[in-house]
Amino acid sequence: MRLSPRRRRRIAQAVGYLVFALVIAVVVAAADWGRLSEAFFRLDIARGMFPGAITVALRNTIVYTLLAFVFGLTLGLILALMRLSSIPPYRWFATAYIELFRGLPALLVLFMVGYGVPLAFPDREIPGGVYGSVTVGLGLTAAAYMAETIRAGIQAVPKGQLEAARTLGMSHTRAMISIVLPQAFRIVIPPLTNEIILLTKDTSLVYVLGVTATTIELTKFAGDTLNTRVNPTPLVVAGLLYLLITLPMSQLVRGLERRAGRER
């Protein structure tokens, strides 16, 4: 018997749904739900984490993210301008920096800043204690990524914009500040927002610097509670709190990209 193409398509689709439903059913049947909820969803343990989880851990996660982002963005902008400079040593330095810090694990850089710098410069210290070290430690890596993003943004601004500004008598610097950079930043807002999301997750590395009760962030906070209560529920709570930061930002990136797509 020959099937019409339409019937064949319907049958293939039905099989697809059926396989999916079967897999779900098997997983649900096989799981020990009592054990699972005992391990991951103990409401009493979750409740015990508040308000500290928000007032200290979540707050510090956000503060670390913002500090590293501002540091990284500033340094990234300088590096991007150096990469586009007409003076070759600037270009060499920026290229070397970007290649170096993109190739190193963020954790290694954080160790370097937290332990290497104090040993190398015993009489100096990075101002701001842990906050300062985190800012520099995570910001150095973020700057390398953001420099490349910003450079691409600057190069995406049509050359005619700079020419028009120069013919009006603006200096190169003035034209960059008033005309090129504002348009470049509009272009790079979506990728930079992605960079904040990555930074948010990288703040989980901060524990290696030895944080205290007041400088603790989400992952360390959850880890400590896991150790004292011998139950992984805190990990679920921390995960949900991370999503509380990152999901709205992903949503924001999608919105910005849609808007940018319309303007083109």
């Binding site: 005619g160 914009q161 028009a164 120069r166 013919t167 009006l168 008598g169 348009q183």
Partner: protein, 251 residues
């Protein structure tokens, strides 16, 4: 003193010699149209006048100031030279009003009230007073080009350079831009115009310059260049441009 004096101008891009010895003077109040086939070096010549392209050899003086002198303050000279581009090059992140105002404020250091007044004046002049709050992307090509002309005029230039100002426009929008340029010529503005609009060159120009392969082949009043071209290359070009339906494949 001539507004533009060009002597022995050469320009190469790598091995490609685009300008091969140009001598040209433009007098105050004169409208000079440069015509010629694409690749003849017209736009490069125009872009050398305000040093958007650095000449390989030769001297260029604008209002007596030698712009090819390495010690020349080119930003200061450019303030007095308006330039209109084929692609308009309006600043996309600024409204029409801000486009016209920004260089007045940042370069000429005019006060806000004075700059706003001059902006309004020039937007009226190009017929865009009601579009002051719009962004470039919301305008038609013709409106964008008129806004770009207003942006240049607001700097009170002594000379306007036009680089194929209507070549990127839909045919029905060409007229409104040419009308603004014609009015400008009528007010006595010194203009150097690279164009494919032969009717405009014929009616508005004081002098037409025909370029081919990096040199000026001939120049003169439009009636002569269009009516009685002396050079064979000019005749052939005008035939192709003015009577495109009569060109045979062998030509």
């Amino acid at each position: 003193m001539s507004t533009i004096e060009i002597e022995g101008l050469h320009k190469s891009f790598g091995a490609l010699e685009v300008l091969r010895g140009i001598d040209l003077a433009v007098e105050p109040g004169e409208v000079v149209c440069v015509i010629g086939p694409s690749g003849s070096g017209k736009s490069t010549l125009l872009r050398c006048v305000n040093l958007l392209e650095q000449p390989t050899a030769g001297t260029i003086r604008v209002a007596g100031v030698e712009v090819t002198d390495p010690d020349c303050d080119i930003d200061a000279v450019r303030r007095g030279i308006g330039m209109v581009f084929q692609q308009f090059n309006l600043f996309g992140h600024l409204t029409v009003r801000e486009n016209v105002t920004i260089a007045q404020r940042r370069v000429l250091k005019r006060g806000r009230a004075e700059a706003d007044r001059i902006t309004a004046e020039n937007l009226r002049r190009v017929g865009l007073a009601e579009k002051a709050a719009a962004y470039p992307a919301q305008l038609s090509g013709g409106q964008q080009q008129r806004a770009a002309i207003a942006r240049s005029l607001a700097m009170s230039p002594r000379l306007m350079l036009f680089d194929e100002p209507t070549s990127a426009l839909d045919p029905e929008l060409v007229g409104e831009v040419l009308a603004v340029m014609r009015a400008l010529a009528g007010e006595g503005m010194t203009m150097l115009v690279v164009t494919h609009e032969m009717a405009f060159a014929r009616e508005v120009a004081n002098r037409v310059v025909f370029m081919d392969a990096g040199v000026i082949v001939e120049q003169g009043p439009p009636a002569e260049v269009f009516g009685r071209p002396r050079e064979e290359r000019t005749r052939e070009f005008l035939h192709r441009v003015l009577e495109p339906t009569r060109v045979r494949p062998a030509d």
